[in-house]
């Protein structure tokens, strides 16, 4: 790979950089991890640029690489006890139940965002990725299964489990516990 290859690559990804960073941020939940994931994804994309030839959509290809890097990254974090300390889901539910009681104002509330982030941390990497792609990115389950490289049934099950965790932790709030 030469410097001119690198320039070509950088101009190709120019329009997608911000989108990829934001997707990584939604999946990982923090800026440092998002930066690491995007850097890994861009490096992989750059090293395998020849494999992209004749593919229809650069963003789809970059997405797939980024999602797989994010899964690897999240798995790596879970394997390191010093970096992986999820709050038990029951604790998240209790914090939610005791927090501000006005549902309309919750979405804009920083405390609520922290609680959502805490629930996301209780999800497995695949639950988190499939949920983010379905819920935040609006991708269809078929697209998600293609991007992540799992069957549609598996993608559905991961999403169901993620939603179950969200409901278990956050619904006590609406029921006025």
């Amino acid at each position: 790979m030469t410097d001119s290859d690198l320039d070509v690559f950088l101009s190709l990804i120019e329009r997608h950089r911000r989108y990829l960073y934001n997707l990584a941020l939604r999946i990982t939940g923090n800026e440092q991890d998002a930066k690491d994931v995007v850097q890994d994804a861009l490096l992989n994309a750059y090293l395998h640029l020849e494999g992209f030839e004749n593919r229809a959509d650069l963003r789809t290809w970059l997405n797939r690489i980024l999602v797989n890097c994010a899964i690897d990254h999240l798995r790596g974090i879970r394997r390191r006890p010093d970096m992986y300390e999820p709050q038990p889901i029951t604790d998240v539910a209790e914090t939610v139940a005791s927090s501000t009681p006005d549902p309309e104002r919750l979405v804009a509330n920083a405390d609520w965002r922290r609680q959502v982030a805490a629930v996301m941390k209780t999800m497995s990497p695949l639950e988190r990725v499939t949920f983010v792609l379905r819920h935040f990115e609006g991708r269809s389950i078929a697209e998600i299964s293609e991007t992540v490289g799992i069957g549609t049934n598996a993608a559905k099950q991961h999403i169901f489990r993620a939603v179950r965790k969200i409901r278990l932790a956050l619904e006590p709030h609406w029921s006025g516990r």
Partner: protein, 395 residues
């Protein structure tokens, strides 16, 4: 229509209920209980919104990004270190020395039970190839543009498949000189440009799994028969005689042969696809695949196997040879070959089963099942090892 399940409501929320969309919506308008449940789901999920889109990202510093890519790409594309190339090629070079050790320690253990750990050590040496290959592949990236990288990848493949390859070469061309000649040939062949992996291997994977299902049924039956051998040689011979009625039918033999060929060809097209430093599971999956390919080739080409029309050797004779592998160096070569075959098969199929289970069970449940499977698999391998070394419950 009965009440909707939570999962149905989730699919409806995301508009993923396909042909049931209208039916579910109609039900929600008539069923108060489901409507309340759906309302609760909608309220919660609609309150879970993504973080705001960030316009200024740490990647906006193009100079830093360029520098990072250049540095990291440069370090990735470096030639594989000579010590890793040497390490993987040392395995097949030293392998023949482990066989007399297995025989010697086995004989000693028959008179001195305290020498049994020596048999285990000698066996561990003979079985080390796939693990050395995994260790090396986890540390060095393979970039086929470099000669050293190709020598390394070829060495890793040969190291992983050494027990099978050795047995095959020994059967076709007996003598150590031929073994080293075969290694030299393999080393030369690995330096040639490697064919690239197809971009999409989805269809190949389907074919691979279908043929694997056939082989799996046969392999599990075979392993079960070998386990019976731990009870006694005569029990093994009786079970073998019974099973032969089935798998010596011409159609079964051709089905197995075709499945084995499909496995090898489809596996070869995907063999290097997921190999990369740090990816232990994927690397082991590839390595177990390489080993199984060599195992199938060696097994199919063994005398008496898949030989339509030939009269098979009596089951009792096979049992006497099979469970006395420590008697000769030739027999000892079959011991790591068979044991690694079982380990590779259990790992290869087990990894796929684990992925399939994740579609239906929670990750924690799958983890517990995986631990149970590892325990069961280890028990099977240890039992088989004892039987093949001539240890039986009933003599």
């Amino acid at each position: 229509m009965s009440h909707l399940r939570d999962d149905d409501l989730v699919l409806h929320y995301y508009g993923e209920d396909g042909p049931r969309l209208v039916e579910v919506e109609r039900h929600l308008q008539t069923c108060a209980e489901c409507a309340i449940a759906y309302q609760a789901l909608t309220r919660t999920l609609s309150a879970v919104t993504p973080p705001e889109f960030i316009e200024t990202t740490p990647l906006d510093d193009l100079w830093a990004l360029r520098q990072m890519l250049r540095d990291r790409a440069g370090s990735r594309a470096r030639k594989v270190s000579a010590r890793f190339v040497a390490l993987v090629w040392l395995v097949p070079l030293l392998y023949p020395l482990s066989l007399p050790l297995i025989v010697g320690s086995g004989r000693l253990a028959q008179t001195q039970i305290l020498a049994a750990p020596l048999v285990v050590l000698a066996l561990a040496w003979a079985c080390a190839g796939p693990f050395v290959a995994a260790f090396a592949l986890n540390r060095a990236a393979v970039d086929f543009e470099w000669l050293s990288s190709r020598a390394f990848a070829g060495g890793a493949m040969v190291a992983a498949a050494t027990p099978g390859l050795y047995l095959l070469v020994a059967r076709l061309l007996p003598g150590l000189a031929w073994w080293y000649a075969a290694l030299a040939l393999a080393a030369l062949a690995s330096l040639a440009p490697w064919p690239s992996t197809p971009r999409s291997t989805r269809n190949i994977l389907v074919v691979h799994r279908l043929s694997a299902a056939v082989i799996t049924i046969f392999a599990l039956t075979h392993i079960g028969n070998q386990l019976v051998g731990f009870v006694s040689e005569s029990a093994y011979a009786a079970a073998l005689t019974f099973l032969r009625e089935g798998y010596h039918q011409a159609i079964v033999e051709w089905l197995l042969l075709t499945s084995a060929a499909v496995q090898i060809v489809s596996g070869a097209t995907m063999g290097m696809k997921k190999v990369r430093p740090g990816a232990w599971t994927d690397n082991f999956q590839a390595i177990s695949g390489w080993y199984l390919a060599m195992f199938l080739i060696t097994h199919v080409l063994a005398p008496g196997v898949l030989n339509p029309g030939a009269t098979p050797a009596p089951a009792a004779v096979i049992a006497a040879t099979q469970f006395n592998l420590l008697a000769t160096a030739r027999g000892a070569a079959s011991l790591p070959f068979l044991l690694l075959g079982v380990v590779a098969f259990l790992y290869h199929v087990g990894t796929y089963a684990r992925l399939a289970a994740l579609a239906y069970l929670a990750e924690a449940q799958v983890r517990r099942l995986s631990y149970a499977a590892v325990f069961a698999g280890t028990s099977v391998v240890v039992t088989l090892a004892l039987a093949l070394c001539g240890v039986h419950l009933i003599r």
